[in-house]
């Protein structure tokens, strides 16, 4: 293996493994890094690693994987083992065969990684790595320096042809080949899924503030026809019921009737796609009418619209849902118990609130809501950087309500919910997102970290569960303008000059970013989220809904054969005989004479033709052509024409045609 190939291999294995560190155990990552570094050092220093050392390292690698994954029977273990084998292969990469074997192991490693994660970036990586790998294979034939590949135009052209046709063929087969409506294996590995958003099972002050710093897209949603107004676009995630006075936590045992999907009048049908694979709460517009998870996963309904999903594949989750227009307020006996839990509060907090806000006592939920509104409107301020609150939960609450009076949505929601509870009304804190950024190019909404939001759900005896968003009172622009624009406005007010996100608001840059985001989203929908249902939809759009899987399978095979056949014919055409160009030019010449009215056929001898043209005024040009043709074609010393001959004939052919045109 030349040094150039080694470099490629070394970079390949690093880029193919290390970016997916989150999928592997730290011990495997560490060992990989060490072995990877040793491979580089030994190569640079030209050190030879003894067979015994390599054997011991192999044993160590196998043992580490066994320990990390509790055996070899999981996709993660396979991925880790292949990664370590690949890097160990780099230690003894001397011959061309070693290079081939390395890339084989590398591909096995990548296959394991594909199973652990499905993302559009990985698709790009597959195409790029396959292309580079085959480029290296091509170069290994000549056993020359790797650099010569990039110098040889002909080889590059062959490679480009293969890549071009392969991309067309594989993309077409990808869409045509019938998809199963089931899978034999769903995620049975021990892979740890990560929450998407930074929202965890609890809400601590400052959590949403940090999520709001994140500009990356969390999920995208596309409405079928009707779109709700921005201010009412509450993407509700988890509902938090347990509180210590200022912090909130989820309780998986709590459930409400209103938590499950309900049939009724529905509006705002939408489909949403998480940007990344992960697990946690889904974000639904409330109240949800119908909900369907479009990817594989287990759905658990826990609170009011609190839908927890554990994915069964490593694909970003997709779901379809709509919004119910009529609310139900009746509670079952079991729910009464849950409702009781939604009124619990630490005694000291309760006493303190009751003492400080004694005027709120014996008010109905609706009246209390009005009073809380008045409280927050009067003296409180909304800030995207409210600073940290410290001390016991009660102290934090006191500091917020009496001293600093500055907070972000989570502070207001948390305080309001506790005031409700202190006076005997059930309440919860709901976390999720509000609004989003509309992408008019792709006609969808991007919901980003900066749209993170928290609000209150309180129980009214007459109306049932109601949403109350104190932020609406303190900073109404936050809801009417959306997270992105409000952030700009707030920064202008604060006198903060420049932030990276300003660039994205620039008109042309924003347009470019939207176009890129649209392309990314559409490609994701097309490639990563392509499944049997989408295939059925496409067939239905084409009026072929009755086509069965067997027909599709047959079409896939026939299509592949046709493409391969066409490529073969194309290549055959390109390897036609050495005289074909000369013959073709001569045939074109004869044809132009025929059009001019000469009695010539394909079998007319060139000399006879010359005789025939002798009398014509343009005979000299034609004679030149024929003389050149005879000289090239019937020169006994010439086995085949060279490029100059072809150029000469082409030039003379052009002159003949020009002369004939002038004459006419």
């Amino acid at each position: 293996m030349s040094f150039g190939v080694f470099w490629f291999a070394w970079i390949f294995v690093g880029v193919g493994f290390l970016p997916f560190y989150a999928l592997h155990q730290s011990s495997v990552i560490n060992l990989f890094s060490v072995l990877w570094g040793i491979a580089l050092v030994t190569r640079l220093r030209q050190w030879h690693i003894m067979g015994a050392v390599r054997f011991l390292s192999l044993g160590l690698a196998a043992f580490t994987v066994w320990q990390a994954y509790d055996g070899f029977r999981s996709v993660e273990a396979a991925g880790g083992l292949f990664a370590l084998l690949a890097v160990l292969k780099l230690w003894e990469s001397y011959s061309t065969r070693d290079a081939f074997l390395f890339f084989l192991i590398f591909q096995l490693m990548m296959i394991a990684q594909y199973l652990l994660l499905e993302s559009l970036w990985l698709l790009g990586f597959i195409i790029l790595s396959t292309f580079l790998m085959f480029s290296i294979f091509m170069e290994l034939q000549g056993q020359q320096r790797l650099s010569s590949l990039f110098k040889n135009l002909g080889k590059r052209r062959v490679l480009a042809q293969i890549l071009f046709v392969s991309l067309i063929l594989s993309t077409a087969l990808f869409f045509i080949f019938p998809r199963s409506t089931f899978t034999f294996f769903i995620r049975s590995s021990k892979q740890q899924m990560h929450p998407w958003t930074g929202f965890s099972a609890e809400l601590r002050p400052g959590q949403i503030t940090s999520i709001m710093q994140d500009d990356s897209t969390t999920f995208r949603a596309r409405f079928a026809s009707e779109t709700p107004i921005l201010s009412s676009m509450y993407w509700q995630g988890a509902t938090l019921i347990d509180s210590d006075g200022f912090n909130w936590q989820r309780d998986v045992r709590i459930s409400f009737k209103g938590n499950s999907e309900r049939r009724g009048k529905e509006r705002f049908l939408y489909e949403a796609d998480m940007a990344e694979p992960g697990e946690g709460a889904l974000f639904l517009l409330q109240p949800t009418a119908q909900f369907k998870l479009l990817s594989h996963g287990v759905v658990r309904w826990r609170g009011l619209n609190d839908v927890m999903v554990t994915p069964m594949s490593n694909r970003p989750l997709r779901w379809r849902a709509s919004v119910l227009t009529e609310l139900e307020s009746s509670l079952s006996i079991e729910e009464q118990e849950s409702l009781q839990r939604a009124k619990e509060l630490p005694a000291d907090v309760k006493v303190w609130i009751q003492e400080n806000y004694a005027e709120f006592a014996s008010l109905s939920a609706l009246e209390l809501r009005d009073r809380i509104e008045e409280l927050f409107v009067r003296n409180f301020a909304y800030s995207l950087e409210p600073g940290a609150y410290s001390g016991t939960p009660l102290n934090q609450l006191k500091t917020f309500l009496l001293e600093r009076k500055v907070g972000v949505c989570e502070h207001f929601a948390s305080s309001a919910a506790m005031i409700f509870r202190a006076f005997g009304h059930a309440s919860l804190v709901a976390v999720g997102f509000h609004g989003g950024e509309y992408n008019e190019l792709g006609d969808y909404w991007s919901i980003r970290g900066r749209d993170a939001h928290a609000w209150v759900l309180y129980y009214d005896e007459n109306l049932g569960w109601q949403r109350f968003d104190p932020t609406n009172l303190v900073a109404p622009e936050r809801l009417s303008l959306g997270g992105t624009r409000y952030r700009q406005l707030w920064r202008e007010r604060q006198g903060i000059d420049f932030e990276w996100s300003d660039l994205t608001q620039n008109s042309w840059f924003s347009g470019v970013m939207k176009a890129v985001d649209t392309a990314y989203y559409q490609l994701n929908l097309a490639f990563i989220n392509y499944d049997a249902e989408k295939q059925r939809q496409i067939l239905a759009n084409l009026g072929l809904e009755n086509w069965r899987r067997a027909i599709l399978r047959g079409i896939s095979i026939v299509f592949a054969l046709i493409v391969v056949l066409v490529f073969w014919l194309w290549q055959r055409e390109s390897s036609k005989g050495s005289w074909s160009v000369v013959n073709r030019i001569y045939q074109a010449y004869l044809k132009s004479l025929q059009l001019k009215g000469f009695n010539v056929t394909n079998s007319t001898a060139p000399l006879a033709l010359q005789q025939q043209l002798h009398e014509q005024s343009y005979a000299s040009v034609c004679s030149k052509f024929i003389e050149a043709y005879i000289k090239i074609k019937y020169d006994t010393h010439k086995k085949f024409p060279d490029r100059d001959d072809e150029k000469l004939l082409r030039r003379l052919g052009r002159e003949v045609r020009r002369a004939l045109r002038t004459k006419s």
């Binding site: 002909g154 293969i162 392969s166 594989s170 034999f184 290549q571 060279d642």
Partner: protein, 334 residues
């Protein structure tokens, strides 16, 4: 014979060998007739089979897990593999071989270079073409430009040819281009003969040549002849004066010397009988190397057969060939 153990054999050679092993004897002649030099044969290489296996595994994974990336990677691999087969197949077409000479000679263990001319009659370049004899790559052409000829030198050293007379029955043109996943080949009939002479070994025969009286029983030599006039040339400073032709010097106005050369025609008939025959042959080569070009010589070969008596340098070549052929049938290389 050709030592095949030390080198990796090409798939074309192994394919033919295995096919013959599989088929009954009576089919071998028919198989020979079926083979056409214009036909391109193609088989997957070991790497090709590995890749096909990986693609199959990926496909099973794709179906089993409903995994889109695995589907795409499967189809991408399938495309690359199938298209590379077509490229490999075409890469060997329209390439022809011509040969400027038909006889080549060399000695055991030495480089034996056989120059050939490759002709690319296609409109496109051909890449990474290997020329193989007996399953061993003897030349590699990185690129053969379209509509051009290129001289290629086959180095037969890697064949480890032993002493003998070899006929190149066929020359295999093979390629693994573009990705080494397939191996395509065709072959050309070229009437090339190769004589592998024994490597010389110093022997007692060497000294015997100069002393006919002590030649012993193993060397029979006749010494007939005398010095004869050869050429007239100008006298050089420092030369003796006794050879100056005064008459001619006066005529040409410069001192001229008459030069004589030993025109003795020594006829040697070297008896190579007795002792180990290969050694005798090797010693005979050494003796022949030392022998005067003008000598008349021949051998009594180890089996008692007399060679013809050859005179002159060119004809001496025939004696080397006799030594190469001794006890060997003409072997075919393919």
């Amino acid at each position: 014979m050709v030592n095949l153990k030390s080198v990796g054999l090409s798939p074309s050679f192994l394919f033919r060998k295995r096919l013959r092993r599989l088929l009954p004897q009576r089919w071998h002649a028919r198989l020979e007739r079926l083979e056409r030099s214009s036909r391109v044969y193609i088989v997957p290489t070991l790497m090709g089979m590995y890749f096909a296996f990986i693609a199959l595994v990926l496909f099973l994974i794709a179906i089993s897990y409903g995994h889109n990336l695995a589907y795409y990677a499967t189809f991408l691999f399938f495309s690359f593999v199938s298209l590379s087969a077509i490229i490999a197949n075409n890469n060997i077409t329209k390439v022809e071989v011509s040969w400027p000479r038909i006889q080549f000679r060399g000695r055991v263990g030495e480089d034996i270079s056989v120059p050939l001319i490759l002709i690319n009659r296609s409109q496109f370049s051909r890449y990474d073409i290997k020329l193989e004899v007996n399953g061993v790559s003897v030349a590699h052409v990185d690129e053969l430009k379209p509509l051009t000829t290129q001289e290629v030198v086959l180095n037969l050293k890697d064949l480890n040819l032993k002493r003998g007379h070899f006929k190149l029955k066929r020359l295999t043109l093979a390629t693994r281009f573009p990705f080494a996943l397939f191996y395509a080949w065709n072959w050309s009939k070229i009437p090339i003969e190769v004589f592998i002479h024994p490597a010389p070994k110093p022997s007692r025969l060497k000294t015997v040549v100069h002393d006919n009286n002590q030649s012993g029983g193993e060397l029979i030599a006749k010494n007939i002849g005398s010095e004869e006039f050869f050429v007239i040339r100008e006298h050089r400073a420092g030369e003796g004066l006794f050879r100056i032709d005064h008459r001619l010097s006066l005529r040409l106005d410069r001192p001229q010397v008459r030069e004589y050369r030993d025109q003795t025609v020594r006829s040697f008939l070297v008896d190579l009988r007795g002792g180990e025959s290969e050694r005798s042959l090797a010693e005979a080569v050494d003796w022949l190397d030392q022998c005067s070009n003008d000598s008349e010589c021949g051998f009594i070969l180890p089996d008692g057969r007399h060679t013809r008596i050859f005179i002159g340098r060119n004809n001496q070549q025939n004696l080397y060939d006799e030594l190469a052929r001794f006890g060997q049938n003409t072997q075919e290389l393919e």
